[in-house]
């Protein structure tokens, strides 16, 4: 299965969250490949903590592959190459976790026939090899999004299940922007239909992930004043109303990730060690990520709403 991770704007935690999802699936035994299609600002190397391995593979990344400079994009075996202490010792029985990094110097580029051809070839090859392929796309209505839509519309990819996650923060502007990214006049659905996707099927393959959501009921906010608390509840309710009106209400949401300082500031994978031993990350975050990861392939969450 292919998972495309898109977001309306930067700063939604798209990269770090989707990397965490890949990590959770690998822990559960799946062979997972993570592709950094965030051309121009690749972050996955930092998230997986593989900077040294990246040095060695400089300029042989996905960008160089797609424009035809190298015949195969570099792969980094995360378990073997990471400098992260906990990740170095994955539990027995976990699946492979492979990162295909982007190129630091690679900016956006047009979707030419050759680039598209190579993109389809790569996605098909990885589909034959991995249980789950996570593709992190640049924010907004980018070339990366265009290429993903175009590639998945090709007849040879018709057998491949592709699903889309749209990450957005839990604010008025982000909710509106996410809705417009998907359903807007130049949105993902319209762009997909233009390229030959079936509208119903494409809509059914898109779910939203609410990121950095403060939970008014969380013990974190138990010390705030009653007025603050009431305001938070009210605003949360208003946002839910707004999301629902914008067509990205409850039935379209795959899950939400709580506001988590470790995700926000460290931008790295959250390991069980962060939760259990050093306790810098919240148990709820771990559970939310784990739930989300499981739902990626749970058809119950992807039925027509």
């Amino acid at each position: 299965m292919l998972i495309f991770a898109a977001s309306d704007k930067g700063g939604t935690g798209r990269s770090v969250t989707s990397a965490n999802l890949a990590y959770h699936r690998a822990l559960a035994g799946d062979d997972v490949c993570y592709l950094d299609f965030d051309f121009g600002s690749p972050t996955a190397v930092a998230v997986f903590d593989v900077a040294d391995a990246r040095e060695a593979t400089e300029e042989r990344g996905l960008h160089a592959y797609l424009i035809g400079e190298v015949s195969e994009p570099e792969r980094i075996d995360v378990w073997a190459r990471t400098e992260h202490q906990v990740l170095r010792d994955p539990p027995p029985g976990c699946g492979r976790l492979v990162l295909m990094p982007g190129d630091v110097s690679g900016g956006e580029f047009a979707t030419t026939d050759d680039n598209l051809r190579r993109c389809v070839d790569l996605l098909m090859k990885l589909y034959y090899e991995f249980d789950l392929v996570v593709v992190d796309l640049s924010a907004g209505r980018s070339y990366a999004v265009d290429m993903a839509l175009e590639a998945t519309a090709q007849p040879e990819m018709s057998e491949v299940t592709a699903r889309w996650l749209v990450f957005h923060r839990w604010t008025r502007q982000h909710v509106a922007a996410a809705a417009s990214l998907v359903f807007g006049r130049r949105g993902i659905v319209a762009g997909g239909v233009d390229r030959g996707h079936d509208e119903e099927a494409l809509r059914g393959a898109i779910r939203f992930v609410r990121a950095a959501v403060p939970d008014p009921e969380s013990p974190l906010w138990s010390q705030v004043s009653p007025t603050q608390s009431a305001w938070m509840r009210k605003t949360d309710g208003d946002l839910k109303q707004l999301a629902s009106t914008a067509g990205i209400g409850y039935s379209q949401v795959l899950g939400s990730v709580p506001l988590e300082p470790v995700l926000q500031w460290r931008e790295q994978l959250i390991t069980d060690e962060d939760v259990l031993d050093s306790q810098i990350a919240n148990q709820e975050t771990w559970q939310a990520l784990s739930r989300l990861a499981a739902r990626l392939t749970d058809d119950k969450y992807w039925e027509e709403a």
């Binding site: 035994g29 062979d31 400079e69 190298v70 015949s71 195969e72 792969r75 075996d77 073997a80 027995p92 029985g93 976990c94 699946g95 070839d121 098909m124 090859k125 034959y128 090899e129 991995f130 249980d131 040879e156 057998e159 491949v160």
Partner: protein
């Protein structure tokens, strides 16, 4: 002049790379479909043999090259000639592509007309003297940018085949392709071929070093390497499936489900040296001795059968009876 050319054409080194993967088709292909898939050229036939295993070998296609040879010591040797590529399909299930070439000890310092390279398919001539050791090591290590990259040629052919309209692009299970790089040093005619090194590296890479008598064609070495790569892929893939947690730790129907593809698609594929040139068949003995390819395969298949038998014993009768 002709004699001089003939002399320089005598190769001292043959190098190749084999890529092995599962054919992306839900059903294994039969002989006819295999021939259709591997018809890389209109003017040449696909060789299909049905015994002892169904094996189809494509005609050879040439890729013209004019670039640096990969070298381990950084010496820059330009070379011109043609690389041979071919594909094979075993039991309609395992797809392989190979790219290989031979190099003479030395070549002229100027580029000759193409026609002269084309009459010696699979020969790449260096400008000047060939740094033999460095080139062999360079090929095994893998090509850098701008160097003759056998992997690119082999992968290109594989990609084109996987795109073929005949295939439904559905794999019965997920598996990882492997690639095997090999170099064969030439030795005087009449001496026995030998296998000097076989290593399993990370990332699905294997490397192999051979000694090959002058009278054995490079194509025969390519055939041997394909055979070894195929069986190494089988061992690697089945071992990986067994190591998977969902088989190791769990019980119940999920074990049957996980092992099902191995039994249906892979167990019957083991048939070492079935299509290897008789002059090279004995090289298999080395690998049978140590690490013991067939021994390991027997162990794996026994483990799978035992696992399934155990599952059948513990499964209540009603679960086994037809619904």
């Amino acid at each position: 002049m002709a004699a001089a050319l003939g002399q320089s054409a005598r190769s001292v080194l043959a190098c190749g790379e084999v890529r092995t993967c599962l054919l992306p088709s839900f059903q294994a292909l039969d002989g006819r479909a295999a021939a259709q898939l591997l018809r890389l050229r209109a003017d040449d036939h696909v060789r299909v043999s049905e015994r002892p295993t169904m094996y189809a070998l494509s005609p050879e296609v040439l890729t013209g090259v004019d670039c640096r040879l990969p070298t381990s010591n950084g010496s820059k040797v330009r070379a011109v000639g043609t690389v041979v590529a071919r594909a094979a399909l075993t039991e309609g299930r395992l797809l392989q592509s190979t790219a290989y070439f031979s190099v003479p000890a030395a070549g002229p310092d100027i580029r000759r007309p193409w026609g002269q390279y084309l009459v010696r398919p699979g020969l790449v001539e260096p400008f000047g003297k060939l740094p033999q050791q460095a080139t062999a090591e360079g090929v095994l290590r893998g090509a850098g940018r701008g160097e003759l990259d056998l992997g690119t040629i082999a992968e290109g052919l594989l990609t084109a085949l996987r795109r073929h309209a005949l295939l439904d692009r559905r794999v019965p299970f997920k598996s990882r392709p492997t690639h095997l790089r090999w170099v064969a040093r030439r030795q005087p005619e009449g001496e026995r071929a030998s296998l000097t090194n076989f290593t399993v590296a990370e990332g699905g890479l294997r490397t192999m070093e051979l000694r090959l008598p002058q009278d054995v064609p490079a194509a025969a070495a390519a055939g041997l390497c394909e055979d070894l790569a195929l069986h190494d892929w089988l061992l690697t893939t089945v071992q990986q499936m067994l190591d998977n947690s969902r088989i190791g730790a769990t019980d119940g129907p999920s074990v049957v489900e996980a092992l099902h593809p191995v039994v249906v698609h892979l167990l019957h594929l083991w048939m070492p040296r079935a299509h290897v040139d008789p002059a090279l068949g004995h090289l298999w003995d080395v690998l049978e001795e140590k690490p013991g390819f067939s021994r390991q395969w027997e162990k794996l298949s026994r483990r799978i059968r035992d696992r399934l038998a155990l599952q059948a014993v513990t499964t209540p009768h009603q679960a086994l009876s037809p619904r």
